[in-house]
Symmetry: C2
Subunit: 395 residues, 2 copies
């Protein structure tokens, strides 16, 4: 058996970043991975501007009642401030040349003659946002390999970018084998079960930004499996299957991958889970998840998801940071050889956040994954008493 960390490292070290880069309009770039660092061509804000609605003045004049010499809404270009005057100004508007402070309107009193008097001391520089304070010309505002979130797109807009260079979507072809499988909505005669793997895997891949080529259930024959693999490998960057990677299993994925390409079959010290296949078919990567839905789900989250992220160009730095939280449960019969990933939920009890585990951690219980919001990682042989601090990873 190889360890979870060895397997992650092996996969990550072989994640070839998708080569194609495309320009997409800013509003279509959410969730995509930036393919070139973004350097600002301009200052944000472009000019010194007012942080308040109020009056732009020279601080040295501000003890006097001042006539209002101009009005500067946001979006207009001001005249230089006339000597011994104030300019009515609004939030975001450009500070007029010769002014050096803004007085907020709550500290200004309009006089009967139209002049303005200030009710608080005025300091040079007050309420002025400086040119380039947010972003300076030449500053790197977004890094290559970062997955673009909403505020990132706001920043790209602020420097005038109508589109961004992102890696093209990773194409992932999936199919499912097993003569026991039927699709939801079909009748399930005795002995058959519904194909649940398709319905968590396809959304999980889409959530990552993959373009999913969903080939559905493939008949459990060697020729059909080989044909599906060839078809999938010709159309996708990564081919994924669920099932058929355990010793002695009743289907043809192993033999078909070996016939069409190359295969590594691993036993990994992970529970739930254990078998995982990796390989190549033509230029496509092959990943064979275990067919048991809980094993497949945990294996995907722990081992495969970050491989796909790296494969699509995202910067992946080892494990995500776990949270450390106290257990509100015990776990007295740990697996002695495999790391265990318990399905847990973070709950607040008496004002303290704690971990509850799903009662039945059996590998046949997919409801444990739906119920959970995190996985606790236990070392081989690690038992748990209530109060133990445990590392939990979000799902």
């Amino acid at each position: 058996m190889q360890t979870v960390d060895q397997t992650r490292d092996w996969l990550l070290s072989r994640a070839r970043v998708v080569a194609d880069i495309e320009q997409v309009p800013l509003l279509d770039a959410a969730g995509r991975v930036l393919a070139r660092e973004l350097v600002s061509p301009l200052n944000v804000p472009p000019h010194d501007n007012s942080a308040m609605d109020g009056y732009a003045v020279r601080a040295a004049d501000a003890a006097n009642v001042l006539p209002v010499s101009q009005r500067i809404p946001a979006g207009t270009l001001p005249q230089a401030l006339a000597a011994a005057s104030a300019a009515r100004i609004f939030t975001g508007a450009v500070i007029p040349p010769q002014a050096d402070a803004v007085v907020m309107q709550e500290q200004a009193e309009l006089q009967a003659d139209g002049g303005v008097r200030f009710t608080a001391p005025v300091t040079a520089g007050q309420n002025i946002r400086r040119r380039g304070e947010d972003i300076a010309v030449g500053q790197v505002v977004l890094a290559c390999g970062q997955r673009l979130r909403d505020a990132d797109l706001g920043v790209a807009a602020a420097i005038g970018q109508p589109q961004l260079a992102v890696y093209r979507r990773l194409k992932v072809a999936v199919f499912f084998t097993g003569d026991e499988l039927v699709e939801p909505g079909e009748a399930a005669p005795a002995g058959k079960i519904y194909n649940s793997n398709r319905y968590w895997l396809v959304p999980a891949l889409r959530q990552l930004g993959c373009e999913v080529i969903d080939l559905g259930i493939i008949a459990d024959r060697l020729d059909a499996t080989r044909a599906a693999l060839r078809d999938a490998a010709a159309r996708a960057d990564v081919v994924m299957t669920c099932g058929g990677v355990s010793v002695g299993e009743e289907d043809h994925v192993k033999a078909a991958v070996e016939a069409e390409g190359e295969l590594q079959l691993w036993k990994i010290a992970i529970k739930p889970g254990k078998p995982l296949a990796s390989g190549r078919i033509g230029d496509a990567d092959f990943i064979g998840l275990p067919g048991n839905p809980v094993s497949g789900y945990v294996t995907f989250v722990v081992l495969v998801r970050d491989f796909l992220r790296a494969r699509m160009g995202e910067t992946v730095q080892g494990w995500p940071q776990p949270r450390l939280l106290p257990a509100a449960f015990d776990w007295l019969k740990p697996d002695q050889k495999r790391e265990e990933f318990l399905r847990v939920r973070i709950v607040e009890q008496d004002g303290v956040q704690q971990l509850q585990r799903f009662a039945n951690q059996g590998s046949g219980v997919l409801t444990s994954c739906a119920w959970a919001d995190g996985l606790v990682r236990l070392q081989p042989g690690q038992s748990v008493q209530p109060g133990d601090l445990l590392p939990v990873y979000p799902l």
Copy 2:
């Protein structure tokens, strides 16, 4: 000024759940909000089945060498186990009547005569997954009001559901006002700035599952603003604008909403932020965010996002649980009247997770939101010393 909590409570208490429910195919239901609880019509697994590849036996017979009387791949219906025999069985296959245990193949030795001998003691019930162990007939597997995640869809598939009843997408119309705004890609003459609000707000709404009606920049005239509001309200459940809700601002959103519907204009004890408008235009809700991008962003995350979630049918229970982490910074001049929401990042230093704050917390610095992965919530007047435990909310 009213408090952040008062404002959240006010908005949440007025969030009318969208009335229309639609059936969507399972693979299109990711991220949608379930509109009816899902009750299982069947047991999962439907039959007692094998947790291993191996041999199904009667435990009482297992001390003997047993002939192999049948072979049971997954997906087939077994015969009753012949007396004093074993059945070759595979993971997931139905346990034959009369068998009461499965011996894993690693503990079985095939004999020259085709019989099988077991190398470890066998206990009745071992390696059998019980009918209904994951899901029992009549069990509620998914709750009304939950946002559907990948594993939820796997569970729905496991009970044979080809589609789910979800609330229809919330329609949110957005527009942006301010004569200083130009769109990215256009020239920005002196005095103009790029419309960044559109580019974080539209993706944030889509991320929530909203159908966004994006009306872009509307000319800063009362008639144009009124026309845009009428158009938006006729097509959407919620109308959102950025800007024009501060006292003394230079545009017409306030007057236009008052002319077309009703408006509450609030000063909220929040920094960044302060002004927020809420109201109704016809049957549509109106939300007016502050025009400053950082204020708008924080106001959206803290006050508006959960309103929209509740409005689209999702169960929202107060604030999300914050994490408590030590500050690796100081904050010595807190606002005395407003709660502050500092943009922070969780970093690991010497093996301990800590909070860094973005150096410039000014409300003109949108890069602080892109850099951050959380908001620290400070009470009015609360200063921070390194090491203080602070509540942080993910963005």
